[in-house]
């Protein structure tokens, strides 16, 4: 069976960006989850990825992390096509919405497991694990089974395992979800530190102040399509020309505008004109 166009890595070469997509599309039957998505995210950038529920954010992240196969289009992580899974996964860390952890293990065992699978030397791994555990106030509970962890503790563990082997690209899906203000601050500080070390952060969240505070560039997805993309200051200043002044207003404006346009195009008149 032939691969979707370009996803076998034989298409146009990447321009060496941290994350790059070209016409990335994912269809399920007759439902378009992600449509013709073009991303160009440079090394060390923090990219805020916004969108209403069901807009295609998680599907995009799964496409970028090689967990889903595109229907068409291409994607590269750190210059490596996602179709080349063994090489692509060496360049990324991922925190899904539900942290992938085994309840039966202790926190430390889980992190060592991921470190072992990621080829981090044992001594380096142990040192990093201890640092992160202390940074996220998990050190005291590190040798307890994860089944006894709270939602916030699980989330923190998921974040640590995403960045444990210091990948050049980290994709975080709702990283501050379920965290108290202190833990949320620790996550934001970590994201800032990673960006300072030229790690690219692809950050999907509904908590707009987090994006406002951290992101260098913001992309807004609606119905699987990119409806706005710019740096947050520019987006807000553009919106200020109208009635918007915060990122939340911008988000509501662009997604509402897109939905209205979608509804109009579904009217009989629009259908007749197609």
């Amino acid at each position: 069976m032939p691969s979707p166009a370009g996803t076998d890595g034989t298409g146009p070469a990447s321009s060496g960006l941290a994350i790059e997509t070209d016409g990335l599309t994912k269809r399920y039957g007759d439902v378009d989850a992600v449509v013709d998505l073009d991303l160009a995210i440079d090394h060390g950038q923090i990219y805020g990825f916004l969108g209403p529920n069901g807009s295609g954010k998680t599907t995009t992240m799964r496409l970028l992390t090689t967990l889903l196969t595109p229907s068409s289009g291409q994607a590269w992580i750190d210059g490596v096509p996602v179709s080349d899974r063994p090489r692509a996964i060496q360049r990324l860390g991922y925190l899904p919405e539900e942290p992938p952890i085994f309840d039966e293990l202790t926190g430390r065992e889980q992190l060592r497991y991921v470190a072992d699978l990621s080829d981090v030397p044992a001594a380096v791994a142990d040192e990093r694990i201890q640092d992160y555990l202390e940074r996220f106030d998990l050190a005291e509970d590190a040798d307890r089974r994860i089944e006894s962890y709270s939602k916030g503790m699980r989330q923190k563990l998921g974040i640590v395992q995403a960045v444990l082997d210091e990948p050049p690209v980290v994709l975080l899906d709702e990283p501050t979800s379920g965290l108290d203000p202190r833990a949320a601050r620790a996550v934001k500080d970590l994201i800032g530190d990673l960006a300072d070390r030229e790690t690219t952060i692809f950050l999907s969240t509904h908590i707009l102040p987090v994006v406002d505070e951290l992101a260098d560039v913001v992309g807004v997805l609606s119905d699987g399509r990119m409806v706005a993309e710019d740096d947050p200051v520019e987006l807000k200043s553009r919106a200020e020309a109208g009635t918007s002044s915060t990122l939340e207003d911008v988000f509501l404006d662009v997604t509402a505008t897109h939905e209205e346009a979608g509804e109009e195009s579904d009217t009989p008149e629009a259908a007749a004109g197609r």
């Binding site: 998680t58 599907t59 799964r62 996964i89 699978l117 990948p167």
Partner: protein, 582 residues
């Protein structure tokens, strides 16, 4: 210049270590399984029981092996003519282990869930091979020690240490090769079951049919016949040649060294197995989900969480309510009608739970050939069927009303629904379906049995009453001992079923009521029990005393449903999440 992120870029590093990493995956998987197995006292008790059972068989087997070895050494036994039978037996064991590995992989062991969602961390080959390796070790944990014990006993009997080495090696090879074949096959089967729209849509029906066919094959003796027929052909296959390896060098047995060598060479199957396992796992774990199917544990993990997410309900949309619910609401009020249809909807969407309700039927299947062979339905069958129907009614709808609410329980408690409405609706849901069944099934059996017409009419008249009493008692037991956690019915199907206490309490109630009724109604039964009790206690127990005790017991048991219902109502009205154990 971009910084070095500390990850090895070369594929050689990964290739060099993939077997070691697979071993890590296997080690962690085994640790998880072990911790799951000892997670509760019940599970430990079951493990201890199983180990005890294995120990007993091993002891018996060891004695037999020692005796056989001694007879061989003394030249009292010539097994050379029977070697084909031994080969067939060993090959059958291999086929059985392969089947088990296939079923386990088709279930949870080959699922996306088993990967821990860490497919973005390392290669598929590493995780798939690691999971298969864990299965090999899992099989060995059960069979290696008994095999070594048997071989030591045999070696002592025969007076040669060779069997200890050869049997040990054979056990390792049998476990490895059977999993090497069964695991990729199982992941493939799982792919077909969960990723092919047609199969997925009818999976529950297919699983139930398979289950019934399996029980049917066991109860009718067909399975034994098939296995017996396969022994001879299997003895000719390389799987049978493991027997030559196990018995190689044993005095008095003319094994084939060439076949023994081929048996060792079968280890080479591991190489194509790793390739096949990786390919089929790649295909399965990264496949798009089938949308609109019934619940699947791994769907949560692998399917897109966006717009095309969760299972969809075909048909009704918007604010319209089912016709049945509207009809029922006219008679019972909307809250009751909503609770009744909610109970039906849950049963319909989690049909695996109904398997539990039908569990006694599986035990009955074994008697079907005897009943048919006996030329008619025995007179006790209608009463037994009535008991089974009543038991099933309880399990399906009333034995876990709080647990069946799941995450919705707080909303139900706060909805203002009264205890009488909540409990009454669950009893009603059960009676609406099961009263007709309780009349038709035992009634048909009674008509076909030698019961006289008066007894048949009495049974028909009593059926609705018995089912109602059972449901009223069951709802109290279920409210007292709810269960919120789900159990795994098959590899990928989890369902919330009543608690063990509720199952046991309800079963004891039904059996005790039936026995007390029998003792009150039948003088012969009283006399048998009086004789038994006289033999057990130091004083003579007359049949009249049995009647008195059974009579009092029956009155208490017959009064239980009302007390149970009232308790259930009060329990709902005072329930808290903490007291319910949610």
């Amino acid at each position: 210049m971009r910084p070095d992120h500390g990850r090895p870029d070369g594929e050689s590093t990964r290739r060099g270590h993939w077997i070691g990493k697979s071993a890590t995956v296997a080690r962690v998987q085994l640790r998880r399984i072990l911790r799951q197995q000892v997670a509760s006292p019940w599970k430990i008790l079951i493990l201890v029981f199983l180990f005890g059972l294995f120990g007993l068989f091993t002891l018996g087997g060891a004695w037999l092996a020692y005796t056989l070895g001694g007879a061989l050494a003394a030249g009292e036994l010539n097994v050379s003519g029977q070697l084909d039978l031994v080969r067939g037996g060993v090959a059958t064991v291999w086929v059985g282990l392969t089947g088990m590995a296939t079923v386990r992989a088709a279930g949870s062991r080959g699922s996306h869930e088993a990967t821990g969602g860490l497919l973005w961390v390392t290669e598929t080959r590493v995780i798939a091979t690691g999971l298969a390796l864990a299965e090999v070790v899992g099989v060995l944990l059960w069979i290696l020690l008994p095999a070594i014990a048997l071989s030591v006993a045999f070696a002592l009997g025969v007076g040669s240490p060779i069997p200890v080495a050869t049997v040990g090696l054979t056990t390792l090879l049998v476990a490895t090769t059977s999993v090497a074949v069964g695991y990729p096959l199982g992941v493939g089967v799982r792919h077909v079951l969960t990723r092919f729209p047609f199969v997925k849509r009818y999976r529950t029906a297919l699983v139930v049919l398979g289950f019934l066919a399996y029980f049917g094959a066991i109860s009718t003796g067909l399975l034994n016949q098939v296995v017996a027929a396969l022994v001879r052909p299997l003895s000719l296959t390389p799987m049978g040649w493991f027997a030559d390896l196990a018995l190689l060098g044993t005095p008095g047995i003319d094994t084939s060294p060439l076949r023994a060598v081929v048996a060792v060479a079968m280890l080479a199957v591991v190489v194509p197995s790793v390739i096949a396992t990786t390919r089929v796992a790649n295909r399965h774990w990264f496949a798009d989900p089938v949308l609109g199917g019934s619940g699947d544990d791994e769907e949560e993990a692998s399917q897109p969480a966006d717009r095309v997410g969760g299972p969809r309900t075909a048909g009704r949309t918007g604010t319209s309510r089912p016709r049945f619910e509207r009809f029922l609401a006219r008679w019972t009020g909307r809250p009751t009608a909503t609770l009744v249809t909610g109970a039906y909807r849950r049963a319909y969407r989690a049909p695996a739970k109904l398997l539990y309700a039908a569990m006694p039927l599986f035990f009955l299947i074994g008697y079907v050939p005897d009943i048919l062979g006996g030329g008619g339905i025995p007179p006790f069958a209608p009463v037994l069927l009535l008991l089974i129907v009543t038991w099933g009614a309880g399990v399906a709808f009333v034995l876990n009303p709080l647990g069946d609410q799941g995450n919705v329980l707080p909303a139900t408690i706060l909805s203002g629904v009264s205890g009488r409405t909540f409990v009454g609706a669950h009893v009603l849901a059960s009676l609406l379906l099961v009263v007709p069944l309780g009349i038709i099934v035992p009634g048909a059996a009674a008509v076909a049995s030698p019961l006289d017409p008066a007894a048949t009419l009495l049974l028909l008249a009593a059926s609705p009453l018995v089912v109602t009493m059972g449901c009223l008692t069951g709802v109290g037991i279920g409210m007292a001992a709810p269960r919120f956690s789900s159990v795994r019915v098959s590899g990928s199907t989890q369902v919330v079923v009543p608690s063990k206490v509720a199952f046991a309490g309800y079963s004891v109630y039904l059996v005790a009521t039936a026995v007390a009724g029998l003792l009150v109604a039948r003088e012969g039964a009283r006399e048998v029990v009086a004789l038994l009790l006289t033999a057990l206690v130091p004083v003579s127990v007359p049949a009249r005393a049995v009647l008195a005790i059974a009579g009092v017991l029956l009155v208490v048991l017959l009064a239980t449903p009302i007390a149970s219902y009232r308790y259930a109502v009060r329990r709902f009205e005072t329930v808290t999440l903490e007291s319910a154990g949610a």
